[in-house]
């Protein structure tokens, strides 16, 4: 069965520092992978997605993610975080029957 693991429930970084949020997936075929962000009291917004091709994917707001098949990972990165990046981040994998399976999320805190 498809699954997504985000091992870090909370991450705290200082403003201006680099960021990496971890995501591991389990899927038998070529995965379709997503990162979504949820700001407090808001719905989810897509940051980026991977279907095929270049394994380094660029997204909105300066985020990127790298697909590594050998590690079953799709980690999200940003070279320099801003206070407005504080939010909940969800990794997801596209499954059968048009479902998207979400990870449990990582809450990002930014120190001034």
């Amino acid at each position: 069965a498809q699954s997504v693991t985000q091992p870090d429930i909370h991450i705290t970084v200082s403003e201006g520092a680099s960021l990496e949020l971890r995501c591991n997936y389990s899927y038998g075929a070529t995965p379709y992978l997503f990162w979504y962000v949820q700001s407090p009291g808001q719905g989810l917004q897509l940051l980026l997605k991977y279907f095929s091709g270049d394994t380094l994917v660029q997204g909105i707001k300066g985020f990127e993610a790298e697909f590594k098949r050998s590690q079953s990972s799709f980690n999200l990165r940003k070279p320099s975080v801003h206070w407005s990046d504080a939010a909940e981040y969800f990794c997801a994998v596209g499954a059968q029957d048009d479902k998207i399976i979400f990870g449990k999320g990582t809450r990002l805190h930014i120190l001034p």
């Binding site: 989810l44 048009d98 979400f102």
Partner: protein, 117 residues
């Protein structure tokens, strides 16, 4: 121009009541979804509809009944509300996916926070 809208944004009600949440999308998408996000932020799909037809029903109690009057609307009716139904409910939509092909982005509404007292 709101792409996916939900009403109401907040809903507070007593146990045993029946309530509805409405969702509308103006993106021209064929597929719509309902998700439940619990207090620990875990997001789980409940239903999906494609062109008014039920596609996914994820072992949700039959007190929950989705209704899609047309492909731009997917409403969620909940009977006999229970304390455990308290959560944030998200509606989402995406282009048609049936028949294979890449999985497309799902566009989410702002959510409806349901509190059952």
């Amino acid at each position: 121009d709101t792409a996916v809208s939900q009403t109401p944004k907040y809903l507070v009600t007593q146990m045993g009541n029946d309530k509805s949440i409405k969702c509308e999308q103006n993106l021209g998408h064929d597929t719509m979804y309902w998700y439940k996000q619990d207090s620990k932020k875990f997001l789980k799909i409940m239903f999906s509809y494609n062109n008014k037809e039920l596609i996914i029903n994820e072992t949700v109690p039959n007190r929950f009944s989705p209704k899609s009057p047309d492909k731009a609307h997917l409403n969620l009716h909940i009977n006999s509300l229970e304390l455990g139904d308290s959560a944030v409910y998200f509606c989402a939509s995406s282009p048609t996916l049936l028949g294979g092909g890449p999985y497309n982005e799902q566009f989410f509404g702002p959510g409806t926070r349901l509190t059952v007292l």
